[in-house]
Symmetry: C2
Subunit: 196 residues, 2 copies
Amino acid sequence: MKPAADAKNDTSKRILDIAEQLLLTRGFNAFSYQHISSELGVRNAAIHYHFPKKTDLGVALIQRYRRRFQRFVDAQHTLAPQQQLERYFTLTDAYFEQDQQICPSGILTTEYQTLPAEMQAEANAFVDEMRDWAVRIAAAGRDDGSMHYAGTAEAMGLLMLAALQGGLQLARTDQSVLPALKLQIRALLGLATPLP
Amino acid sequence: MKPAADAKNDTSKRILDIAEQLLLTRGFNAFSYQHISSELGVRNAAIHYHFPKKTDLGVALIQRYRRRFQRFVDAQHTLAPQQQLERYFTLTDAYFEQDQQICPSGILTTEYQTLPAEMQAEANAFVDEMRDWAVRIAAAGRDDGSMHYAGTAEAMGLLMLAALQGGLQLARTDQSVLPALKLQIRALLGLATPLP
DNA sequence: GACACCTTACTAACCAGTAAGTAGAGTTTC
DNA sequence: GAAACTCTACTTACTGGTTAGTAAGGTGTC
């Protein structure tokens, strides 16, 4: 048995969970170790024990996102393209419903210029992966005949990603944004009503 | 003659100019009065003389944007819809080319939860105005037969706004984003090559 | 002398980060 | 099997820097 290691992992995970919530609602520059430690019920220095520098915490957060996103993608590579798109919409809705969070790529690219180089590198990789995935959906949908749109799959995937990223942010000022955007993306892809 | 008033206006304007640059590159939470005062060559308290609270500066910034955007819209209400769209693209490019700035609505909605209530209210109004304008372009383009797209003009305008907002942010990780996005929006509107 | 526009000098709060110490659980050594 | 140790996961206490914001004073212009 390794209760010590379990406890360590548990605290680290809880730190990451709280930091993730703060990142997606307030941004990396607008939360501090105090926010985390008071929420967690420990002292400030305890956070530094697990993540010595704030940069370490930021990098760990993005790396966790990347792993999670990879699992998300892998888990549904057998689904039809339009079902994958609907899953992506559901994911987007889930962000918004949880305290009007925005997507990680949105906060990371917006604060990009103020982030340490290690975080910028991780953010670049993360954005690339998300973009590739959106492009694959658009390409597969065209290939299997379920989606019909003008332009290239590369540009269409990019547009969907950019629109949802911007849409999650705009939704904070008007909650009707996301439903309208989803409808419009479906319309532009020549999709009818969403699948159940 | 009013040299005193001119000097005041001039300094206030320069403060706003520097603050605007900082807002669009770093965000509201990631710049301080020190950044402005050192750039301007004055002491910290001089900024507080013109804008007592940082909130005052933030509100003044958004109000200036709103006035500027209104002039931008008014100045080209006689242009054809697709020419107005191209002007909007040009505006977007100009932001990016100036130190990879993002659009004001992007930073304001991303940092929304951390902004003082006065700034949130101004941001709401600003976003509404931008959204209305994008929708009017989509509607006018459909009405005059120059644009052809699926879905409503409301949703299409919103999608263009959201995509360009997200696109300006994503462009920081890959400069090919904006050109691809512009091409795709034109394609989705049934527009051919951009007008000169 | 009143006013606009600054300065110096300061406060209190917050920030990331560090150093040194401690409690407890597990491991080693004799 | 008990004393000695080591390790994890913290704590207290602190540093130096930055933050927004204020108070009081100076200087030039009308």
